[in-house]
Subunit: 343 residues, 2 copies
DNA sequence: TTGTAGGCGTTATCAG
DNA sequence: CTGATAACGCCTACAA
């Protein structure tokens, strides 16, 4: 474990100037005589000097770090958002630091605590579960960007995706293909996005004059397994349906597997629509028709929001919209092709 | 943006003791009279005091941070490793900080630079592309853990997965099912793991007395697309084969799609084996038979290695082994069922 | 057992 | 334009 790295003072000595001058050169915080500037620059790369961000942070009372609380870092959905955040921070001096909550309030609070001990300058929270007051408190201390959670008083800190509209589109697509017995595999009831999607589904049915049938709605937990469980429950209950609108792609994947197991074909027998458009969804067999969420843009926007707030600029959060990506898991309804029929 | 947080000095004042005493209490670095201890503890939580890690870091010359250079943070494969690293660091004072290289040497060096500016105490590099000397230099400065790259002189810092053996097993599984015309979709030739897998494939053939046919090997880039491209190339070249061993699951997914498009069924017409066992692979249709890499364990081990080195304990890296997970994408060879036959 | 003083690497203030 | 000098919040001798 060799020598520590060089300090600003070393550079100053090497260049024959004072530390303050070196600091000025590095930060461009004031004009410096060309001759000295050159000397400093040369000294810097002769020594391979790298400023110590911790010291800089201490001195400035900033850490140049943006905390990101995410429930699962290894999830295709959050992965894209994270990527977006990274992209949005690229080129700035800020760096993201992640901490995971694993959908556990306790762990989430701990994650938040860890981040705050690291003196993060701003915080991005994806699907926060902690109590409202906690976030209200945080927002008073630092720039806060929320996604997946609505809290009164924090509207300006919240990034919204139009889930209702997205679900409406996904459902209407199926209706336009002639389907009327459309199953909805919903997300967890406590998740606001899941509720909006369910609502969009209902609204699309309503607008088409198709009566809402509670029997067609099954609640899942956004994981693949719950997709297979949902199908199995439907089938064992002999529910009739010709299409499924899953509240996310992961559950849709489970659905595909369950149908495959039963020898039910997609889209010939059952049409399937997902939500999210995960990176892998276009490679499912068949490629999944889904409602795309602009995850990458979302991440970038979150970063942008944090940066704007950090520089005290006024920020007005946009409502990001979804789009229907029609691939191969949906097809026109064919009579006599309905799962659950006659047995 | 309310008040800054409390400092150790505030706590000291509140508790009626000196700052050093507070410090001692927090770090347990020396005995403190019970009375004062209690006073300090109370003051701490009355104020909700949180130590400033940057200041602590500066003072101690440590950052309590472990840098992780990963090529893609949003990839199912690295995602699992990252999760493992997090798990391995849980309960310690260390926290991981990620930076991505995007398979670009330039970006990787930049990522490494960013990490080092943050004074990381140890570094974990997943599939590093930078020049050998660079890593040799890094290893001299701090604990370094490498994965996916072998560098002479850094054997003790390198976590190895037995890729050759894994590929051997995957291939032999196909051979045991009666297949002899087995395609291998290899990873990028410059990637050491990809080379080992190709080697394992060859060795399995050789041991079974099946002649190696270069026509059956196609090089991919580990992404889904290259899986579909490979199949298309094979088919257009009228190559005959009844099974495919893909060097990773993502390419296998591409393969499935390409076969599906051509109406070729898995496993009835073609058997397919992947490598990695990504979280989603058990939900492919059909669920993929694959060679499992212990990604989670790998991450945990990387963390453990870093921690051991950090505390100066001797560390001897293990060779992690793979295991064959048989699911539904492979089946006995049936005559007359070979793609490319007779046209 | 406890407090005081100095230092970690930077930046900011203030003379010059 | 430039150089001292004093913080930033914490830790660690050293002295008491």
């Amino acid at each position: 474990m060799a020598r520590a790295s060089y300090t600003l003072e070393d550079v100053a000595r090497e260049a024959g100037v004072s530390p303050s001058t070196v600091s000025r050169v590095i930060n461009g915080s004031a004009r410096v005589r060309p001759g000295k500037l050159k000397a400093v620059l040369e000294a810097i790369d002769r020594l391979g000097y790298q400023p110590n961000l911790m010291a800089k942070g201490l001195a400035q009372g900033k850490s140049l770090t943006i905390g990101v609380m995410v429930q699962e870092i290894s999830s295709p959905f959050y992965g894209e958002i994270i990527k977006g955040i990274e992209q949005g921070l690229e080129g700035t001096l800020y760096h993201p630091v992640f901490s995971t909550g694993h959908w556990q309030v306790e762990q989430e609070m701990e994650a938040l605590r860890v981040l705050s001990a690291r003196q993060i300058d701003a915080l991005i929270v994806l699907d926060g579960l902690a109590p409202e007051e906690y976030f209200l408190g945080l927002a008073r201390k630092m720039p806060l960007v929320l996604f997946g959670r609505r809290i009164e008083g924090l509207e300006r800190n919240t990034l919204l995706v139009d889930n209702l509209q997205g679900a409406y589109r996904g459902t209407r697509h199926l209706i336009e293909l002639g389907h009327t017995r459309i199953v909805h595999i919903a997300g967890p009831a406590h998740h606001p996005d899941a509720r909006s999607r369910l609502e969009g589904y209902r609204k699309a049915l309503e607008d088409a004059g198709i009566p809402f049938d509670p029997e067609l709605v099954v609640e899942g937990d956004y994981m693949e397994t719950s997709g297979v469980l949902a199908v199995e429950s439907l089938l064992s209950r002999r529910v009739q349906f010709s299409a499924i609108f899953a509240a996310n792609d992961q559950m849709a994947m489970g659905v595909m597997l369950a149908l495959y197991r039963r020898g039910i074909r997609v889209p010939e027998d059952i049409s399937l629509v997902g939500f999210d458009d995960l990176p892998g969804s276009s490679y499912m067999t068949p490629p999944l028709t889904t409602v795309r969420q602009p995850t990458l843009e979302l991440g970038r926007e979150a970063a942008r929001a944090a940066l704007m707030m950090l520089t005290g600029q006024p920020y007005e959060p946009p409502v990001l919209s979804t789009s229907l990506i029609v691939r191969e898991s949906t097809a026109m309804l064919r009579v006599g092709r309905m799962a659950g029929w006659g047995r």
